[in-house]
Point group: D3
Chain length 248, copies 6
Amino acid sequence: MTTEAADVVRPASNALPKALRDKLMRAPVAGLSAQLRKRGLNNVTIEGVRPLLPGVKMVGTARTLRFVPNREDLFASHGGGYNAQKRLFDAVGPGEIIVIEARGETGAGTLGDVLALRAHVAGAAGIVTDGGVRDIEAVAAVGIPVHAAGAHPAVLGRKHVPWDSDLTIACGGTTIRPGDIVVGDDDGVIVVPPAMAEDVVDEALAQEDEDAWIATQVAAGHRVEGLFPLNAQWRNKYEQSRAEEPNR
Amino acid sequence: MTTEAADVVRPASNALPKALRDKLMRAPVAGLSAQLRKRGLNNVTIEGVRPLLPGVKMVGTARTLRFVPNREDLFASHGGGYNAQKRLFDAVGPGEIIVIEARGETGAGTLGDVLALRAHVAGAAGIVTDGGVRDIEAVAAVGIPVHAAGAHPAVLGRKHVPWDSDLTIACGGTTIRPGDIVVGDDDGVIVVPPAMAEDVVDEALAQEDEDAWIATQVAAGHRVEGLFPLNAQWRNKYEQSRAEEPNR
Amino acid sequence: MTTEAADVVRPASNALPKALRDKLMRAPVAGLSAQLRKRGLNNVTIEGVRPLLPGVKMVGTARTLRFVPNREDLFASHGGGYNAQKRLFDAVGPGEIIVIEARGETGAGTLGDVLALRAHVAGAAGIVTDGGVRDIEAVAAVGIPVHAAGAHPAVLGRKHVPWDSDLTIACGGTTIRPGDIVVGDDDGVIVVPPAMAEDVVDEALAQEDEDAWIATQVAAGHRVEGLFPLNAQWRNKYEQSRAEEPNR
Amino acid sequence: MTTEAADVVRPASNALPKALRDKLMRAPVAGLSAQLRKRGLNNVTIEGVRPLLPGVKMVGTARTLRFVPNREDLFASHGGGYNAQKRLFDAVGPGEIIVIEARGETGAGTLGDVLALRAHVAGAAGIVTDGGVRDIEAVAAVGIPVHAAGAHPAVLGRKHVPWDSDLTIACGGTTIRPGDIVVGDDDGVIVVPPAMAEDVVDEALAQEDEDAWIATQVAAGHRVEGLFPLNAQWRNKYEQSRAEEPNR
Amino acid sequence: MTTEAADVVRPASNALPKALRDKLMRAPVAGLSAQLRKRGLNNVTIEGVRPLLPGVKMVGTARTLRFVPNREDLFASHGGGYNAQKRLFDAVGPGEIIVIEARGETGAGTLGDVLALRAHVAGAAGIVTDGGVRDIEAVAAVGIPVHAAGAHPAVLGRKHVPWDSDLTIACGGTTIRPGDIVVGDDDGVIVVPPAMAEDVVDEALAQEDEDAWIATQVAAGHRVEGLFPLNAQWRNKYEQSRAEEPNR
Amino acid sequence: MTTEAADVVRPASNALPKALRDKLMRAPVAGLSAQLRKRGLNNVTIEGVRPLLPGVKMVGTARTLRFVPNREDLFASHGGGYNAQKRLFDAVGPGEIIVIEARGETGAGTLGDVLALRAHVAGAAGIVTDGGVRDIEAVAAVGIPVHAAGAHPAVLGRKHVPWDSDLTIACGGTTIRPGDIVVGDDDGVIVVPPAMAEDVVDEALAQEDEDAWIATQVAAGHRVEGLFPLNAQWRNKYEQSRAEEPNR
């Protein structure tokens, strides 16, 4: 028997504007990485994590959650019941991606299938943790994109105390601020500062178009000299080609 | 031409009682982990290993095998011919899981397809090694559950000398005694001391039932506050629900 | 619009003789490893790499490419434009396997889909890198066998400067000389010195035949004692069997 | 020419009460570790750090400082000038130990000789960082106890952005709260929750007395059976000995 | 007050014959390593350990002690009181070196000053552990040579259960059998199979003599070509030199 | 008996001009690091190495030597006799620092006391290796500055084949070209591109002067706000002070 959801709370939406989200869904993480590099940002990748399911694209805004190392007295005071982790999973809203600082510690889960489901029902866009995931088969089946450092059957208390949320955190070697844009695919997970997101994605999509055209030339047998990257001569051909097929 | 199996030896069975085995087959490793934690056992996971095939459940009793580091003089005296590894694979019986101490060394295989087949024919319930596996495609095809640290084409002598068996060993950071119960799924591999197995699995299955009911509430849109874990109010609803559907 | 491939250059072929290549395609890497070990070669495996797609066999001759650590002044002078990486991918010929020394550094890609395509069109037999791969989904779809240390969205300049090619390099803990034979499957990637390749593969194939026959005996229920490896008695049976079915 | 210190600010003292501090100065970290273990606290050691100078005892209360990973845009906004690190070193008071969360990252310094001197002049009792130290020779000469993960010549901006202070942090695998008692010697650095400090140190000193007496028995040639730990018979002798020499 | 040592037990001596021991005391570990390599033994070094005090030479025969990973139920049954560690330290005899298998785990001590003193009083020749040492300052002061992976204040139970002794173990990546000869200096610790010890040390000392003479030539300004190693011409000069000063 | 040094070859000097060398001897590596960072060079540190003796300053120009992983067939052909390592140590000239690419492999020595002595006699300014050193006590006593990853008794053949020299190499995570300036102290080892060396060292020495003055202010009790780094007000005082004591 299921109980009526009399206590469901719908949080205000921090989701990205649809147009921006749609563009980010089309831009590969590798392309975003290249554009961020041009702006001097080289350390914006969340490393050491893999997607639970291949071929899944993830786009959203960061909701941060910090776990500190398990210290047995602090777990007793802060770890149980309606702790910081539970509170954050109840608070997450549509379009948000929960990013968990688990210090690269793979010796415990940092979430399981119940919380993955909770986030999914709340409309969250994804979960990223540089720690472990338990119930991994069930979590993958929930349908929410998840990137993690691996599987582990233990509850988080084996290695962590959930401490606080909605603060700047470290995850997979980079820093994430609440509201940062987070994008993930099979290449990895990247953080895009919101202020530059429109420019970055527009340039990334333009570069994808160029790279796709370059790929067709390579498929035809051309060498990459002068072609990748485009020299003046090849760039002319590319621009000419775009003029002829503007809707490609 | 195949020779008649005139030399087949059927060892006495150390397999688990069927009822207990059936319950362990239904209990996720994550659930067993949580119950063992309640009994003060937090370091019972074999870490750094992955299943060769996803979605395969493994339950059995441990048959232990220890490899020591390759020292060239000791490999000459102990490594070849009918060594400790070969003898153990010949001795394994139905329902047993061979657990190999390979010290986390991934630079060599610790078994290949011939021995995996031998164990499978003997009715072994699985193989766990914190070292490598060679002929990994063929081993996966044999049909016996295997958890390992990775693939490597080299024979074990590159890094190991098979030394002894049927003693207490270390594997993946925990300790396994002969006869310990070993359970594996996609979350990992866990060791269950036999004396507490019945209580642990019964409580794990009860908790699974509770967690499944909680999941349906979450799916209906409820927050996890008070629900996960169950407070008094939610626990009443759960118990009421169980009374109404006792065979769920 | 695609441009005519007026600038396609067909390199001279360094591909293996067809007969040798066919034999190597049938010999598992584990089998080659065992034969090389008999010749005193134990450190010929490229470690820390995994195939992008399972079940793909790779055979070819090495074309080497060395990346040195990114030093910002050297990237400025050597990293852009038609750099050592681009030049090597333009020069690769049929049957060759590009082997990249990336020092086990997984924090950047070392190639992407455009270059993977270029190599494929040129008839290269594969790519091995002990660094990362970007556009990994697209690279896997190109159709050329690739073994790498993982996925990463960043361009190589984040961690590397492409420096030189066609020299002896280190990759995954072993040494590769230009022209060395490289073979890969799900067990890993191995290097076979050309001078011994014919003997090694012939013995490996003979051993496979022996191991296959041993496996059928094991499947029939026989113990491995005296059988694996074959003692005199079992060897007689094997030789008898081969005489009866010479085309097996 | 030195300027008059017209701007020196003397912070209020958070130093330990002298009597407690004196007892902690006499209690080896190993002894405190054993007593904390008896209270169920096993994960209270700051690991991966070494003292700059051997034979130096450090006792104080924690003042915490968190560095997050260097993200180039965040370093531009938060890293320079009078940043969180500089502010904390100006704020530290007598008897306090600055504990820096540097995520075990050894590829940059986290402080140098100027700040070490500042802390020393302010009466700080020590500095602990799980990152690097630059100007290490000069820092060691300042006279303030320092425990770090190693030396590195680079400024912190190479790997970090100093972010905030006076919050709960992670350091060397354990958790430190502002005001926690921190004790260091050649065995390592340990965290003592203030509420239990008096009991823990009193029991540690009592145990030291017992262990010292045990050591004299061992020096006289006695076996450790029954002696270490003391059985009833040996305990009687010990208590008798203490009665005879109460001021030992 | 100290009690008379009525319970001191003197074990039978397993110490090396004095002449062999004296020669091993004069042979650098690097020299022994080179001679063992000539006999095909390349994996005989105990790695990851450092001497507590520089400039101390250690020679003896191995007494082995194995620690398995801490599993909380097994520590309860096997870890306390007069456990395997205590029993072995009581049993060690003159000239023996206690070698502890601690699996490279540095997160706990594996011995402290009381047991180091016990071993020293019993005439043990040294202690080697690939784990940690607590009371490290006091242990260094005891006077017995100790090689360890580092310092840690925690008792062994944090990470280990002492399990058994006088069996073949792994330590620092090699294998040690009871009775193996163990030699340590600032270069490291090496294992010498007893059967070859006389030949190995004689050849090592002869090579030291040769290397010392080579060094004097180098000091005089000669190039190493033909000199290191000695070609026929230089070997003549060396032999001539030895003939002139036979007692050097 | 020592032979006359009839075969001594004095190489041409690649040593730094004396004035530049003297300035670099006075500039701490940390200061050089800060100036290189200002020029956009952040990855110029040779990491994972420690000086054999504390308090020793090292300045010179790089002579590079590359070791590739030991592959048993290649060691047979290239590893023995007058190999690439021996040839380079014979060729090194005054003021040069031998930098060895040993891929961070600590499981073998990469030089011993005979070659350290040879380099010292030849007037080399130092040796840097990201591998091990054997005969470490003797090497430290030779008198030439050495930075290494650790001690190991084995000859280089255990893990390496010396392959070539005088080419661009990787060492400790950065890239070194022949002729690059190399500076080492207790903070680490840094690479200075020759073209910018004069400017870098002049600015580093100026900054040292400023930092020393800042330190005296801190010693007098001043806070670091506005002082470190100098704001306009404090800068005035500094410049005033320099005017009053121009020879400080």
